[in-house]
């Protein structure tokens, strides 16, 4: 379909750009909104002769990609915003040593934390580690810029960072695909030169000061190229009243806002695609157009601050400017942007009236709002093993009655901080930090803390960052219990394989690394349970809590309801016998609907009985073990 415009997801456009650049190796760790990049490249691997892997964590994925670059193959690494934190130690040293074949780090931020537990900013790594940064502003650019990023990377022999955001990565728009070249070139790592020979010698960031100077020279070369980059553009009158400087998806918000305000004649827009380091000449030319500048961007005022520094440096030429942006509150300091927010900011500065719809309609909408405001709190899927797991953990902690608690971790099961998981998680921070913190809480008995502590971890998270924490707990004799919620895949981000699965990203068979065996090898006591067996799981958890001598592991193993193996299958037909159902009477008080809360259950107010919604029910049958009356009946399906 070369040459014909298609509607592509941002992440697919990035994939396409990488393929057009002749990428040969790609690696990453799943994380919304970045996951589809590696997934798509894995899908294209066969046809285009690539090696693609889901690595154990972001740092290793960057190392894998770097190896390819050093052996002369173009490589790409993709991760979500906080993944860069994980990879950053390696990135710092790699940036100092430089690379050989083109290497691009795609990092996808999640402004507004639509699918994250942070609103982390990854752009500042470019400034901090002195690497060039590109930010595509639409779908075509996502493709074109990715392709060019490889060329730039080779031009300056260093990593190029390309930052996307959720609303670009997960949105779709028009892209005209180009040609994908034939794969060629043999991988070979040349290491016979001297330490100072960047093309042929051993690779290291030392001698540090020398290499640091080289790195900064590369950055200067990048700036030169940025001065005339087609990814930076100005639209608007020669001498506007207001100059908007923006980047990334915000460019489309600005376009929309100006159209709705009909203000294109008064406002100029400098859209920047090369946001670090900023090209000074381009900036000087455009800042010279007018006295008022509005910077529109998401997360931290990265662009704004850099523009201000540049403006201060060139104040002699361009004079003083009035700046609007995040720092003065014109643009909100947190949360994602949208056309309405940008429109509000512009309307304020330009003193323009705006009404999205007639006031009479607004009134109607306001009247209807109370009905519509009931939120759909996020919930574990029907048939999700996590609901069953947290039900039993809740029971065990209640029976134990020492005010014990669970440290959470990152994955679908993070939802257990909410009602769907009975609010069981009491800490929720970074990947792997549940186990690490539990290891620490476990040591506080000597200070009188008598609460038992548990940590949960998904299977993918276990490999990513829990293993060191568990080793720590075992070695330091911390009386914590780690519960591994093993649902056999990276469920949250769409079932990417991980070291425990039997196939890799390319679908090839690989040896699964067994969680249970790892834990045993560390000397931790391990129990394995099916979380759908509520009684056994609660008993196992209770036993863990009772033994406060050492670190222990409980593996709760059951497939995710959305896993390819389970999705669409219904092991049981589930029904409520209204004769037996006690409903809201003493003796039950709607345990299934009010407390257990699976979305497959419904409460019939009229009859005062529970009911199964057969459209939603996944047929796991767990509610049958919850019902105290034996009123929920599961029968195996033929």
């Amino acid at each position: 379909m070369e040459g014909q415009r298609q509607t592509m997801m941002g992440n697919q456009a990035i994939t396409q750009g990488a393929l057009e650049a002749g990428v040969r190796v790609a690696a990453g760790y799943p994380g919304t909104p970045s996951s589809e990049i590696i997934q798509n490249l894995a899908g294209a691997a066969d046809e285009h002769g690539l090696y693609v892997e889901w690595s154990i964590n972001e740092k290793v994925s960057l190392e894998v990609a770097a190896a390819a670059s050093l052996a002369g193959l173009r490589s790409l690494c993709a991760m979500k915003q906080n993944g860069v934190n994980v990879a950053s130690d390696f990135l710092l040293h790699l940036a100092g040593s430089g690379i050989r074949a083109g290497m691009v780090l795609v990092h996808c931020d999640d402004p507004g934390a639509l699918s994250s537990v942070n609103e982390g900013e990854s752009r500042h790594f470019a400034r901090m580690l002195e690497l060039p940064l590109l930010e595509p502003s639409d779908f075509q650019e996502a493709k074109d810029m990715t392709k060019w990023a490889f060329e730039l990377s080779e031009e300056i022999s260093n990593v190029v960072m390309l930052r996307s955001v959720t609303r670009l990565s997960h949105a779709s728009g028009g892209v005209v695909p180009g040609t994908i070249p034939q794969a060629q070139g043999k991988a070979h790592f040349d290491h016979h030169g001297t330490l100072l020979d960047k093309g042929h010698g051993p690779v290291s960031s030392s001698p540090v000061v020398y290499k640091h100077r080289l790195q900064q020279e590369k950055l200067k070369r990048a700036v030169e190229l940025f001065e005339d980059s087609p990814f930076n553009s100005y639209t608007g009158p020669e001498a506007p009243e207001l100059l908007v400087i923006t980047s990334s998806i915000c460019n489309l918000y600005v376009k929309e806002a100006l159209a709705l305000l009909d203000a294109s004649g008064r406002v100029g827009v400098l859209k920047l695609g090369t946001t670090w380091p900023l090209p000074p000449k381009l900036l000087q030319h455009n800042l010279g157009r007018c006295g008022q500048v509005l910077v529109v961007e998401e997360v931290i005022p990265f662009l704004e601050e850099n523009v201000k520094i540049a403006a201060a440096e060139m104040a002699g030429e361009i004079g003083a400017k009035r700046f609007f942006g995040k720092r003065d509150g014109t643009i909100p300091a947190q949360g994602e942007l949208n056309p309405d927010i940008v429109l509000g900011a512009l309307a304020d500065i330009l003193n323009l009236p705006y009404q999205a719809r007639p006031p009479e309609y607004d009134l109607l909408a306001q009247e209807a709002a109370p009905q519509a405001t009931q939120d759909r709190d996020l919930a574990f899927c029907p048939g999700c093993p996590h609901r069953a797991s947290f039900w039993s953990l809740k029971g065990a902690l209640a029976l134990d009655a020492r005010d014990g608690f669970i440290c959470g971790d990152i994955g679908c099961y993070s939802l257990a901080m909410r009602p769907t998981g009975y609010g069981m998680l009491k800490t929720l921070l970074a990947m792997g930090s549940g186990a690490g913190m539990a290891s620490g809480f476990g040591q506080l008995g000597r200070f009188g803390m008598d609460q038992p502590v548990m940590a949960v971890s998904g299977d993918s998270t276990f490999y990513h960052a829990v293993i060191p924490a568990l080793i720590n707990a075992v070695h330091q004799k911390s009386p914590m219990s780690l519960v591994v919620l093993d649902n056999s895949g990276t469920a949250m981000t769409g079932f990417q394989p991980h070291p425990g699965t039997e196939a890799n990203a390319l679908g090839q068979p690989v040896p699964p690394v067994d969680i249970e065996a790892i834990c045993r090898s560390l000397g931790a006591e391990v129990t394995v349970c099916d979380p759908f067996d509520l009684e056994a799981t609660q008993a196992a958890a209770l036993a863990l809590l009772a033994d406060q001598s050492t670190a222990k592991v409980l593996i709760l193993r059951q497939l995710c309801a959305l896993s390819p193996q389970r999705k669409g299958t219904k092991p049981y037909d589930v029904q409520v016998d209204p004769e037996k159902c006690l409903g809201d009477q003493c003796g039950c008080n709607r345990l299934c609907t009010r407390v257990f809360g699976c979305p497959g259950l419904a409460w019939e107010k009229q009859s005062g009985k529970a009911r199964i919604d057969e459209v939603i029910c996944a047929g796991c049958g767990v509610c049958a073990s919850v019902c105290p009356q034996g009123a929920i009946i599961k029968s195996e399906r033929a």
Partner: protein, 375 residues
């Protein structure tokens, strides 16, 4: 008589530490469970009224109301509750040998009631050492297996609820005074709901002055012995004044004074020594080892006692007047201490007040307690 819901039960009984862990609210529903001697609530329940609260012996125990309802007589500060006779008793030849606490009277009466068909099972409290095991016994062997007193509070009534949920026929319960009070609550406040658990057919009450908090005792003993090595425990009759602990590596005697702190606060407010709400009450016979004191409280109890004697389960003798006076004196003493303690904590009330109270009495008795006449 007043009934509220589970949230109030938590606030009135659990949180202030008045729960004795009798098991009355356990297994009636999916919310209350007993674990390691503690009653815990697994999930929140928002019902405004529930059996858990209605039948709890530690809140809204309206002594006056119960007496009117169940005895058709006022609750009195004097005596040891209504009774037809007090006799000396011990097991007859039919009861197999076993480690009975004293004369084996309780076990003998249970066997007789089972044989008579008066009940189809009995809820007893078995277990060894620190662990109590509420049990449904249906044969003499099962009864003998539960012989002997466990001096920690036990969730005996949970087994009653479980057995009733499984559809067992009429049941006997061997109950401490607080458990007897819980069963009195059930008789006085029946629950108008199909299939719901209910009162027991026969209540054999035990005398009791206090029990020990199971978790506290476990913590206490853990400092002296390996808990897993404990085989049995006993408090021999006065004047020994010790808790005997038999372990696999020998025995240990702990002066009772050292464990007084382990008596739960709920016992301090308990006004009943002789299980006044039971059909029959059994205790030690001070100064006569191998015998029990047996209080026969009503017609049903008299019939059972006579039948038990006739069938060779039980032997009875006369009980000396002096001993009875001593017993009444002790029962009055506990009652006045219990009511006084409740008053001191603001938990004694009269019927008809709004404020939640643990115990309620008639206005006259309230005044008597307040003015110190009862003590």
């Amino acid at each position: 008589m007043i009934t509220r819901g589970p949230r109030q039960l938590l606030a009135e009984v659990q949180q202030p530490g008045l729960c004795i862990g009798c098991g009355s609210c356990v297994e009636l529903c999916p919310y209350f469970r007993s674990h390691g001697g503690k009653t815990v609530m697994l999930h929140d329940c928002d019902l405004p009224e529930g059996r858990c609260h209605a039948w709890c012996p530690k809140t809204e125990l309206d002594l006056e109301g119960l007496a009117q309802e169940l005895w058709d007589a006022p609750y009195s500060a004097q005596g040891m509750g209504p009774h037809l006779a007090v006799v000396a008793a011990k097991a007859g030849p039919r009861l197999e040998a076993g480690s009975y606490q004293a004369g084996g009277t309780v076990s003998a009466l249970v066997c007789a009631a089972l044989e008579q068909g008066l009940v189809q099972g009995a809820i007893l409290t078995g277990g060894r050492g620190l662990d109590t095991a509420p049990t449904l016994a249906q044969t003499p062997e099962e009864v003998t297996a539960c012989a002997g007193s466990k001096f920690t509070a036990a969730p005996t009534l949970a087994a009653l609820n479980q057995a009733q949920a499984q559809g067992c026929g009429p049941l006997a319960v061997v109950a401490t005074p607080c458990q007897s009070a819980a069963l009195a609550q059930r008789r006085a406040k029946p629950w108008p709901q199909r299939g719901a658990a209910g009162p027991a057919e026969l209540v054999i009450g035990l005398f009791c002055n206090w029990s020990l908090d199971p978790q506290g005792l476990a913590r206490f003993l853990a400092q002296r012995v390996e808990l897993a090595s404990i085989r049995s425990m006993d408090i021999p009759p006065p004047p020994a004044g010790v808790l005997q602990v038999e372990t696999t590596d020998g025995s240990l005697e702990i002066p009772l004074d050292e464990i007084r702190d382990l008596i739960p606060p709920a016992c301090a407010m308990c006004p009943d020594m002789t299980s006044e709400w039971a059909d029959l009450s059994v205790g030690m016979y001070e100064g006569r080892p191998g015998w029990n004191t047996l209080v026969v409280r009503n017609e049903k109890a008299r019939t059972l006692t006579e039948a038990a004697v006739e069938a060779g389960w039980l032997v009875v003798e006369e009980f000396p007047v002096a001993n009875k006076e001593h017993l009444v004196h002790a029962a009055q003493g506990k009652r006045s201490r219990g009511l006084g303690a409740a008053l001191a904590q603001g938990l004694l009330g009269v019927s008809g007040e709004d404020q939640p109270k643990a115990l309620r009495v008639s206005p006259e008795l309230y005044q008597a307690v307040e003015s110190g006449e009862v003590a």
